[in-house]
């Protein structure tokens, strides 16, 4: 996993793959699979929110998290399925649909009778929400039905804001199951960076190494949040030496006049 992160950071991945959401999903979410504790993925998931502005919260710490990437299920292939088990032994089934630059892979084709619609004519999120409620999916994830507390859906995107309309639209096309819109959450890639950035204590040196590399990858891809003007790494030497106030005084045009004008004059001999 770490080698893949380094290859991406160092630009050793073919250009056509650099904007791949599958690769990003694998690199980012995949990293959490190899960490020593589920608290990291719990923190990431808990930074997502639903359309009412409520955070996704678990009642108790997550002690175990099982990851399945692109499971081939009957009607869909979600990006990531997570089976989470908390300290009280309650289970949660959570689906992550990740987007980078693209939108939903399919939208509901309402021109076709609802019973006649093929998978590719269905709203992608609605289809996946239905899938994670099926017995087959639960069997695949070895969910203990008696301990299953909640099923949730996380829409992971590169958006800066929550697309309320899109979420409402998807939930309106979910059929045959009772699924509250409150259980659809939105998460932005940059919030994963925030979570990593806020970790004050890594549980193992390996966790520190993997998450530091992951943070670098997210930074390289621009999937970051504002972290103060002092953190502009490329200009550290400049910012440290010149505060903006000083810089401004320094660059007054009156100062610039001290530069030999003739060197800068346009027009050569025609300029006298």
């Amino acid at each position: 996993m770490r080698e893949l992160l380094i290859a991406e950071m160092k630009g050793k991945i073919p250009t056509k793959l650099q904007n791949s959401e599958d690769l990003l999903t694998s690199s980012v979410i995949g990293t959490f699979r190899y960490l020593s504790s589920s608290t990291y993925i719990q923190s990431v998931l808990e930074s997502s929110m639903n359309i009412k502005g409520r955070r996704l919260l678990f009642d108790t710490p997550i002690k175990k998290c099982l990851f399945e990437f692109w499971p081939r299920l009957d009607d869909s292939e979600p990006d990531v399925l997570l089976r989470l088990i908390d300290a009280n032994d309650h289970e949660y089934l959570l689906c992550i649909e990740a987007k980078f630059w693209s939108d939903k892979s399919s939208e509901e084709d309402t021109t076709i009778d609802v019973e006649e619609r093929k998978n590719w004519q269905r709203d992608q999120l609605a289809r996946e929400i239905e899938t994670i409620h099926t017995v087959d999916c639960h069997k695949f994830m070895k969910v203990n039905q008696e301990k299953l507390k909640r099923i949730m859906f996380v829409y992971l995107t590169n958006d800066t804001y929550l697309h309320f309309k899109e979420i409402k639209e998807s939930i309106s096309f979910v059929k045959d199951i009772d699924f509250s819109i409150d259980h659809i959450y939105w998460l932005s890639w940059k919030q994963i960076f925030n979570v990593i950035n806020s970790v004050s204590h890594f549980q193992t040196p390996q966790d520190a190494m993997l998450l530091t590399d992951l943070g670098r990858l997210l930074r390289k891809k621009g999937l970051v949040s504002f972290n103060g003007f002092h953190n502009m790494q490329h200009v550290y030497p400049y910012v440290n030496r010149y505060q903006y106030e000083n810089a401004h005084k320094h660059y007054l045009w009156s100062e610039m006049k001290a530069v030999d004008k003739t060197i800068w004059s346009y027009g050569g001999k025609y300029n006298g």
């Binding site: 929110m49 010149y242 810089a247």
Partner: protein
């Protein structure tokens, strides 16, 4: 340090200033989503710039844009076409009338006299900078987050406050700023609509 180094440094400082300003605006989007606010112009930054040879340093439109503006309304109000007030944010880098003003983050609540027929066309990106720098004028503006109020001839009421851009150092300050905006928005709602 020679003149080239000075210029390179100046340009890089401006590039980083703009980059960080954009990060701030992205984060404001995310933080405001929590309170059901939706930007009126999607991913677009509101600004004015000029590619004309006839521009002047003191004009409103200069090659380097003077501000980045974003406007928001409640998602339900947009859906039901009943927007009566907006949350208007502006990062003002400079202004043609003034030689030495600090880059600032200006937040405001603008109460509209009427429901706009077309939100994108009727709400102009220059509104807030016009109020702050041209109507009220920077020297009369209460700074450091103090509230200012201005009502123009057409009945647009603007409550705004300014903070130096460099006073924002991370998520905490932005989060506080958003909470302040929402509180003032709700308060304005009670009084005005």
């Amino acid at each position: 340090m020679d003149d080239n180094s000075n210029l390179i440094q100046s340009i890089n400082n401006v590039r980083n200033l703009i980059h960080n300003s954009i990060l701030i605006l992205r984060d404001l989007d995310t933080l405001l989503s929590k309170y059901s606010f939706q930007p009126l112009n999607g991913n677009a930054l509101g600004s004015e710039s000029s590619k004309s040879l006839y521009q002047s340093m003191t004009g409103y439109r200069t090659f380097l844009p003077q501000y980045m503006a974003r406007q928001y309304a409640l998602e339900n109000d947009i859906e039901e076409r009943k927007v009566k007030k907006i949350l208007f944010t502006n990062i003002q880098l400079f202004h043609g009338y003034y030689d030495e003003i600090p880059p600032v983050l200006i937040n405001s609540i603008i109460s509209l006299p009427n429901h706009p027929k077309n939100l994108k066309n009727d709400i102009q990106n220059w509104w807030l900078k016009n109020t702050v720098y041209e109507d009220v004028k920077w020297e009369n503006v209460k700074k450091h987050g103090e509230l200012n109020e201005h009502v123009d001839d057409e009945g647009y009421k603007t409550i705004f406050w300014c903070n130096d851009l460099l006073s924002f150092q991370g998520q905490k300050e932005l989060s506080n700023e958003v909470e302040k905006s929402v509180q003032i928005y709700n308060r304005t709602n009670d009084q005005q609509v």
